[in-house]
């Protein structure tokens, strides 16, 4: 059974998503930001040291086939609250460096890693921001060791929800 972990910044409660397939991550209203301590690598390896449920995302990631990130397109990237969860999830990878396509990246903590899908929405999304977002998911996939990744853009959350229903 395919398990999908969903990180989102919109209300999905109206959707009747199959609970065996989807895990909806419910982060705090205002996620505490990463403080840059690297404790998730050298104190409590694999998990952010901040003691709240927003630290759980990194621990759920290795147990799903796919991560979907639903976010407003903000400056060509993700929205602040979603980004805060990701910043606090770098324990998913190891601190040690390796080379990927001639560039420095991190070694992977887990053998099995989810594919990445970004579903980004906005009313008037500038083309230049979409281009940045396309590069972003590629860079994120490289760092998170995702084999497959894709990004879709939606002009409204209604359009996005419609797509998610299918």
């Amino acid at each position: 059974m395919v398990k999908t972990l969903v990180l989102q910044d919109i209300n999905l409660s109206g959707l009747d998503l199959d609970k065996d397939k989807y895990i909806i991550f419910k982060q705090s209203q205002s996620v505490k930001p990463c403080v840059g301590c690297f404790g998730c690598w050298v104190k409590t390896p694999g998990k952010c040291v901040i003691k709240d449920s927003d630290s759980d995302f990194a621990v759920k990631m290795p147990h799903v086939e796919e991560v979907i990130i639903i976010s407003e397109l903000v400056f060509g990237g993700l929205s602040p609250n979603v980004k805060a969860v990701l910043d606090r999830s770098i324990g998913f990878i190891l601190p040690f460096f390796c080379k990927v396509n001639g560039e420095m990246h991190h070694k992977q903590r887990y053998d099995k890693r989810p594919n990445l899908k970004y579903m980004l929405y906005g009313e008037k999304m500038p083309e230049a921001e979409k281009v940045t977002a396309q590069k972003l998911i590629k860079a994120n996939a490289t760092n998170l060791g995702a084999d497959k990744f894709s990004v879709e853009f939606y002009n409204s959350t209604a359009e996005l929800l419609e797509d998610l229903k299918q």
């Binding site: 996620v31 930001p33 990463c34 403080v35 840059g36 690297f38 690598w41 050298v42 104190k43 390896p45 694999g46 998990k47 990194a58 621990v59 290795p62 903000v74 400056f75 060509g76 990237g77 993700l78 929205s79 602040p80 609250n81 980004k83 805060a84 990701l86 910043d87 770098i90 190891l94 601190p95 040690f96 460096f97 560039e103 420095m104 990246h105 903590r109 887990y110 500038p126 230049a128 921001e129 940045t132 590069k135 972003l136 860079a139 994120n140 760092n143």
Partner: protein, 207 residues
């Protein structure tokens, strides 16, 4: 004489590479300007916006987080984008992003995001500087030894700010062997683990 606002986008309260870069940049920009700084942790949107009042230039200096802008800074930019123009429509924004990996080029997307912020806020974008191996900035004075190349690029960047020139982004990193940086990094992680009472193999824990 210009009024320059330096925004420290690092969430760290002390010893950040961003802070070091701000100090170094202000030295290069010279004594003819007036400087103010602001942090981005525990700062409200209102406090953040007020800092822009009457400044000619704002330099956003931040660490690369997950190939983008750290959430503490991103939140403030997001909340300020619609109001900045009312506070200061003439400000020119420059940015320096530093990262943990060796290659400064990996900061390209985060700098583009600051540019997109300027486009969304309707203010002028100046230039971005991406600095690799940010953790190495304390090994020598900027401009000396392995930090010679970074010093030279920071100098070019500061000259552009002083002239209010908009230009393509610059990317730089230490003139130092990548392999040694990698080995040094690994030694540091192992040292930190031991200081925290962990064994090396504990760093590989799977959850």
């Amino acid at each position: 004489m210009m009024k320059i606002l330096c925004i420290n986008g690092s969430p760290k309260s002390k010893n950040s590479s961003s802070e070091l870069l701000i100090n170094e940049l202000c030295k290069m920009l010279g004594i003819n300007n007036e400087y103010t700084t602001t942090k981005t942790m525990g700062v409200t949107k209102q406090e953040f916006l007020e800092k822009f009042e009457g400044v000619d230039v704002a330099v956003v200096v931040f660490p690369l987080y997950v190939d983008g802008i750290p959430s503490n800074l991103l939140r403030l930019l997001y909340e300020s984008k619609d109001e900045l123009k009312n506070i200061n429509s003439d400000v020119v924004i420059y940015a320096i992003s530093n990262n943990g990996f060796f290659e400064g080029k990996q900061n390209a997307l985060a700098l583009d995001m600051i540019k997109h912020f300027c486009e969304a806020a309707g203010v002028k974008w100046g230039q971005g500087l991406g600095i690799g191996a940010g953790g190495m900035l304390t090994v020598a004075p900027i401009g000396a030894g392995p930090l010679k190349s970074i010093g030279a690029d920071l100098k070019t960047f500061s000259a552009n700010i002083n002239e209010s020139i908009s230009s393509d982004n610059l990317f730089t990193q230490p003139n130092f062997p990548k392999l040694l940086y990698k080995l040094g990094g690994h030694a540091n992680w192992k040292k930190s683990a031991k200081e925290n009472g962990l064994k090396i193999k504990d760093l590989y824990e799977r959850r």
